[in-house]
Each structure stands twice: as C-alpha cells, then as structure tokens.
Amino acid sequence: MNRSELETKSRKQLLAMVERAGISVQRGLGKAGLIELLLPVPSGAPRPEEAAELPATYGRTRLMLVEIEPHWIHAYWEITAPDREAALAKAGDAEAAWVLRFYDITGVEFDGANARDSFDVPVDVAVGNWYVNLWSSGKSYCGEIGLRAPDGSFVPVSRSGIVQVPAAAAAPRAETEWMKVEPLTGETAPAGEPAREEAPVLAAVAASVTSEPEPVISEAVLLPATEQAATPGNVAEDTVVAEPVCAAIPETFPLPPPPPTVAGFDISASPSAAEINRWCEEIHAPPDSDANNNDNGSGYATVDAAQPASQESPAAERETAPSSHSVERFGTASDGLGVAAAERAPSIKLELNAEIVIYGRAMPGQTVEVCGRMVKVSPDGTFSVRMALPLADDDVTHDK
C-alpha cells in the first residue's frame, strides 16, 4: 500500500494496521507518523545502518583529560586543520614536536603561569588519544596540547579543563568535624531507639589522643572444614535400581513404525510393550558395583573418571575457586545476564546419555497414555514422549 492509499485511511484504521504488523507504537502518534511506520522504507528518513560510523571529528579543537585512577589519566583531543596549521606556522620550526603539557595546579587558582609544577609527555598527535602515568595521586592537573620546539618554546593549541585524580591514601589526621542533618519527618529511629543528638563520644580518643580509633574488623570466620569440603560422590545411594518401566502401552491406538532413534536398539518395527520393556531392562543393567566406580547413577558414563572429590584436600578446595563459579569479581558491576555459558564449557572428553523417543499420532482430543502416563496430544494429533535412560559404565567402551 502506498502513501496516498494509506492517507485515505482513518487514524484508527492505521493504528489497527500498525498493530497487525506487530509494530510497537508510541501512544498519541499522529496519522502522519503511523503512515510512515507502515511505508516500507520511510522516504527521506536517515537510516542509522547506512551511516554506520560515528563522526571522525566534531570540528572543534579540544583537549580532554579524564582520570582513570590515582596514577593514570586518559587524554584525548581533536585539533582542526586550521588550528593545526596555525600552530605549525607559529612554531616556525620544523623540528617542533607535539607534546601534552601537564600543569600541577593542586590548591592554586590557575592563571596559566602559577602552576606548582609542569611536565611534558611527547605524543603522536595523529593517534588522538594517550594514556599518561602519574607518580603522585590526589593532585589536580590542567593540560595543554601543543608544539614544543627544540629551544624549549611552546605553542599551545588547546587547554583542557581541570582534572582531579583520586587520592590513593587516607588523609592525614586532623580535627574531626561534625554536623547534624535534620532527619526527615517520618525518618524515625528503629523501635525504641531515641535519636542521638549528641556528638559521638570516642572512648578511645578520650583515653589517648595518640591512638586513633581504627575500625576493628573481626577475623573472617571460616566454616568448619567439613562443611566446605567436597562431599564424596553419592555412589551408593544413587545407584540405579533396575525397575521395570514402560509397563504397558495402551492398545487403543496404533503406533506408527518409528525409525530407529536409539543407536544400538532396533526399533524399526512397531514395538510391543514387551519389547520396550526388554529394551528398558537391557538399558537398566545395574552398574558395576566396584567401589571406585565413578558412576553416580546420573546417566553419565564418565569414562574419564576424575578422582572422587572427597580425596581432594579441603584446604586446597577452599583456596581455589570452582572454575565454573560465576561471581568472579570482587566489586562488580551489572553483569550481562546472557553471557554464554559455552565460553566456560567443561572439557569433558566423552559423555554419553541414552534416551528413547516414543511418538505417534492420534485423533486430536484423544487421550493417550504411554507407560502409564498421560501424554499431551498436540492439536494436529501428534504426540511424543522422550525419556532418558540410565546408562552403565560398561555399556560403552572407550579408548582412554
């Protein structure tokens, strides 16, 4: 539908069309806006995809200093061609080189000449940004980018704002200042706790002016070793019991001939309930009862058996994080929740599982029971049941 056709529609009709098309729409969007949404490509509208790159320059000479940490600053700049040429002309010396000049202006009102100290960092001006290491923290700096000639003369092109790098150490001891902030109405102390108007009395300060009352942090109390130690594999209690399963398949519907789905078991013909039972029993062969068997009954034939966890030193366990543990950072930020686990995929050499799929077709709405369980029949009448079956170690051999 083209624009003129769309224009004949009412806003309500357009709204309905937009909704049908699955386009989310801002409440109150006018008719013209709705038409644009419905047109295949809004005519004349810029498409971000077409202009895939951000501007290389903003047409403004500028130097920015950004603090990263107490001893590290990032500088970035843009110098327009006219400013650059003007600077080169002014320097008048082909040997002049681009530098970042840092002025230490801690505690002074900088007027361009009263810095406490200054130093130069040669930069490659074409790169547009630079990381600069500092040797003292807690200072204020102002920067300039410009050309420095061999004779020491300097032609500044742009001056940055003031950057204050964070302090890396505690402030010296000084007279402590106190303040009262009136609590909000309704900001009440927890039940039974009166507001404390008086300034806190520091017992330790009263006792000795030389001993600063440092916050006392109690020792971290670790759990008893037994609580954090790895637990032994629960081999005994998890041993699979060979119970008869798939006791009966109702005869009320024909099972279509399923193709072979489980390697090693011939299910190419319509199986009888008895046959399925037999397969199940075969699959259910009890695992080797060897004490060192690492099979935990989970359906994993762990051929590359790791040492039982209980043999590891509890201390060693505590010292080393489980490799899979997600919370890697002390002091974290919002974590992308969808970080793919594949990046941490365990390096398992071989892992085997057995499953059986029973599927078929019935009349839609018909009740179907497989192995004693009701099965959901989809609207087209098809259904399927998928079951994992335990697999013992000796079902598969593997070249270790």
Partner: protein, 549 residues
C-alpha cells in the same frame, strides 16, 4: 537493644534492551532470566517474610531502565511467553527424566517452580512486579532508592555537568512517578562517586548514597569510624561505605558462599547439555545454544564431572551460610561497638541479580538471614538508612574520595583500551544536547518531540553497561552497536534540528522503539532547570556540631 546494624542493599539493574522489530532477540533474554530467576524469587522471599510476620528491613534500587522494561506491555507479553516456554520444557523434562531419579526430582522441582512463577506473575502480580516491590516499600519492609536515569557512570560523564544533572534528576523524577513519592536516597551507578557530585544529589533532594569503602578511606579527612558510620559530605548528603568483609563473603569467587559445592552449578544448563534436536525449540532462533534456566548439577568442586544437584542439601547449606554470615556480622559489631562508642552500621550492597540468577540459593539465604536476624535482635538489627539517620543525625563531615566498586576501585573498568573511543563521542553528544536545550528554551510540536528523543538517545548511549560489556569482551558487538546506534540517531536528530527539517515518520519510529521516559522534558539539560518540589525531599537543613557538645 541491638549493638549494631546491618543494611543489606540489593541493586537491581538491566540496561534498556527492547527490540520490537525482532520477536526473538537474544539480549532481551537478560530481562526474562532476571525476572524468572531473581526478581520473582526475591518477591517470593520478601512476601513470605511479610506473611510470616518476620520483622525485616531491606534496601533495593531499581534503575529507570529496568522499571521501564518491567512495565512495558510488549516485554511483559514476551516475559509471559518465556515463562510459558519454560513450563513446557519443564514438563517435557519431567517426563524425559522419569528413569533418572537424581534428575527427575530436579525436573519436577523446576516444573513446579516455573508453574508457580507463571501463576504469580500473571495472576497474583498481574505482570506488575514493580508494583509488588512498591507495596513492600509501603508496608515498611523495603526501602527503595532512586537510581540514575540509564545507569550512566557519572565520574566519566562529568565533563558535561548538565549530563550528570540530567541522569540524576531524571532518575528522581522517574522514581516519583513509579513509586508515588520522592526518593530519600540514591544508588550511584557502579558506586561511582567524585567530590562535588553530592551537590547535584542535594539539588535533587537526595539525602544519602552508597560508596565503595575506598571512598570513605580516602576521604578529605580521616574517617573516624571507617566504613561503619556514614560521612556527611559538606553539602549534608550522607555517604555510606561498603563493608569489605561482608561483601567478600558473598561476592568473592574464592571465599564467597555461591561457590559452595552443594549449590547449583550455573554453567551446566540443559540448553548446552542436551541433544540439539530436542532442545532446539527452546534455544535462540539461529540455533545458538543458550541457557534455559534448567540446571541439574551442583558446583561439586574443582572438576568438570559435576554431580547431580540435591535441592535439600543446598537449602540446608543456605541456612548454614546465613547463620555464618550473621554470626560474622555479630562479632564484627560487638568488636566495633566497643571502640566506636556508638552503634556501627555494616553496609552490604550486592547486585540483585546475584540472588537467584547467579547464586540460585541466594533468595533462600536472604530469607534465612532475615528470619535469624529477627529472632535474635540483641546483637544485630537489620536497618534501612533513613532509620539509621533518624537515630544518628550527627555524623562526621568529610568529602569521600573519588571511587567506584569496579575492579581496582576507580574508573578503569569503564575506561580502558577496549572502550576509550566512546568518550569523545559521549562528551561531544552531551555538549550538543546542552547546546540544543539552551537554544530552544520552549520548543513545542515536532521540535520538542525531536529534542526529547535526542535526550533519550543520549541517555541510552550513556548506560555504563555498554562500556562494561566491551571490557568483558563477551557480547561486545551488541554493546558497540548500541553505543553507536544511539549516538548516530542523536547526530541525525541534531542535524535535523539545526536545519529545521525533522522527519516525523522516522521520529515516530524512534519514539516507539526507544520508548523509555515517555514524559521526559529535554529542558532538564538546561542550566536553569529546577526539579519540581514534588519530586524531591525538603531541602537538607544542616547545623555544625562540636565534638564536646
């Protein structure tokens, strides 16, 4: 009477990810996973505590980006669909694992859990999770703080003060609209603070914020009580420092509880483990294997041979760990109380998504912690900051140092070789925004809409998440794409505004796609902008105190 206080703070945040144009957008899963695994279980925990009559106090923050997504009709529908699919998969799993007793118990557990989550999400909370949390605040159990508009890392946006003001002011206004009252405190994105930021917070009517322990330790004056009492900035806004020990016990990958061998293993998900053809309908459309949320193994130990998850053992361990955490804090306050001469407060902030999503048993741990703390209030009491300040309105004055809770405690996570390129664009874009806001004091019609949308695009580009994801490397292409897309759109709007040729259809498309902050007023970027009184608390009234008084 207690000897000290524990303030538990859960910071809930996700970047704004909403793709109406794509029915199966991978990164939207972040929201659905967080809803299913963290926000719903946290609501279960807190609502049960209320129902059981447990006297508890917790603090949470919800960023406006997360609130916007939780309240968005399209994303709510998709969230419901996600829960439906989980129920369907869990049903199949309950059937598939019939003959594997170890896994079957877990499969049935997931089935019950997902069904309960779906039922509560749709019928009990009517898909309004924010409203459910707001009711806990109204009940006096949960203190909800404001947060910056799009979680912009403020220390790296400060080149343009208007950009910082807009992040804070919009966060406060969004809070007032969402929760029906003015916020009292604020969660600074990534705990990122710099001296002077407190003035902006004060202007927004905020009374307190949280800061990394380094911020207190490197304050302008020596903090007498370390992180165990707040500092008042000279503006009168209170800074509460994070307690390193309480943080480490939960966060640390080496010592933290979540790594315990009995807890659920995050990285063994059936989305990665099971036969491709079987699991395919529950994976991403392109067949990429993703987490489904069904995980049958426990951490087990330093091995790739993971053992089956035994729910009861994990639950028992959560109770033990809650007791351990509480006893550690009790010992801490007992020792601190003796030297401080006043009740210490231990501030323990965590990402809310740690609870349930990363640390599956986290909400259970939280439940035990609240119950155990309520049962034994003689040494330690849970507290929210406003009550603490009600009891202790007199505090030391010092300016906290610049800091964040990121790696090394400063800005490196958000500014390094992987992401430094974004700042020249972010700063220039913010400058263009303020330039436009000053140029159009009272725009209306299409110009006003374009200015508002330009502000939205700038705000979305400023989310700290993009820089963080670039640092991490995983999903970085998406973070790069989002950063560029928003700034490109801003640039196009800027050009249109300058040339007075705003394309309405295209603008409408942007408005419906990035529909966050529907009532945003671009004038928040003007230097003369002031918050309406109903959005902020009464001005802070301070009076100097002397030690001997």
């Amino acid at each position: 009477m207690s000897l000290g206080y524990l303030a538990l703070v859960l910071h809930a945040h996700l970047p704004f990810v909403r793709h109406p144009e794509d029915d199966d957008f991978l990164e939207e899963d972040w929201l659905y996973e967080a809803v299913t695994e963290s926000y719903i279980p946290l609501l279960w925990t807190m609502e049960k505590l209320v129902a059981d009559g447990v006297d508890f106090r917790l603090t949470m923050s919800f960023t406006p980006t997360l609130v916007a997504m939780l309240n968005d009709e399209l994303l709510r529908r998709r969230c419901e669909r996600h829960l439906d699919r989980l129920c369907e998969l869990a049903e199949k799993e309950a059937e598939r694992t019939r003959h594997l007793p170890d896994f079957h118990d877990n499969a049935v557990f997931y089935l019950d859990r997902f069904r309960a989550a779906r039922e509560d999400y749709c019928n009990r909370w009517k898909r309004d999770l924010v409203g459910a949390f707001a009711r806990l605040q109204q009940a006096g159990r949960l203190e909800i703080t404001a947060a910056a508009a799009t979680h912009g890392f403020l220390p790296l946006l400060r080149a343009n003060p208007a950009a910082v003001r807009a992040q804070v002011f919009l966060g406060v206004m969004d809070y007032a609209e969402t929760f029906g009252r003015a916020p009292r405190g604020v969660w600074l994105p990534e705990c990122g603070f710099y001296p002077g930021l407190d003035d902006t917070l004060k202007e927004a009517g905020l009374r307190y914020f949280f800061v990394e322990s380094d911020g207190i330790q490197h304050a302008s004056d020596r903090a007498k009580f370390g992180v165990h009492a707040p500092l008042y900035c000279p503006s009168g806004v209170a800074a509460f420092g994070r307690d390193p020990e309480a943080s480490r016990q939960v966060w640390s990958s080496t010592e933290g509880y979540p790594g315990d061998h009995d807890y659920r293993e995050f990285y063994r998900d059936i989305g990665h483990d099971l036969d491709f053809d079987y699991i395919k309908p529950y994976l991403h459309r392109d067949g990429r294997r993703v987490n489904t949320g069904i995980k049958y193994h426990r951490v087990t130990g330093r091995t790739d041979s993971k053992e089956p998850y035994v729910r009861q053992r994990a639950l028992d361990k959560a109770a033990t760990h809650a007791r351990h955490f509480l006893e550690s804090r009790q010992r801490q306050v007992e020792a601190l109380r003796a030297t401080m001469g006043r009740k210490p407060v231990i501030v323990a902030p965590y990402d809310a998504e740690l609870f349930g999503h990363w640390w599956f048993e986290g909400p259970v741990w939280l439940n035990h912690l609240c119950c155990q703390a309520a049962a034994d209030r003689n040494s330690l009491q849970l507290v929210a900051v406003p009550e603490y300040l009600g009891e202790y309105p007199v505090n030391q004055v010092a300016m906290p140092g610049a800091s964040s809770w990121g790696y090394k405690g400063y800005n490196e996570v958000w500014l390094n070789a992987s992401n430094d390129w974004i700042y020249r664009h972010l700063h220039a874009t913010a400058d263009h925004m303020t330039e436009m806001a000053e140029r159009f004091p009272n725009a209306d019609g299409l110009t006003r809409r374009a200015l508002n949308q330009a502000a939205r695009e700038l705000l979305l580009a400023q989310s700290s998440d993009w820089a963080f994801i670039m640092t991490r490397g995983s999903m970085a292409p998406y973070a790069v794409r989002r950063t560029k897309e928003h700034m490109l759109r801003f640039g196009q709007l800027y050009d249109m505004l300058k040339e007075n040729r705003v394309h309405e259809g295209w603008l409408g498309e942007l408005e419906s796609k990035n529909n966050i902050f529907p009532r945003l007023d671009y004038r928040v970027y003007r230097a003369d902008y002031r918050l309406a009184s109903e959005h902020g608390q009464p001005a802070i009234a301070v009076s100097p105190q002397t030690k001997g008084k």
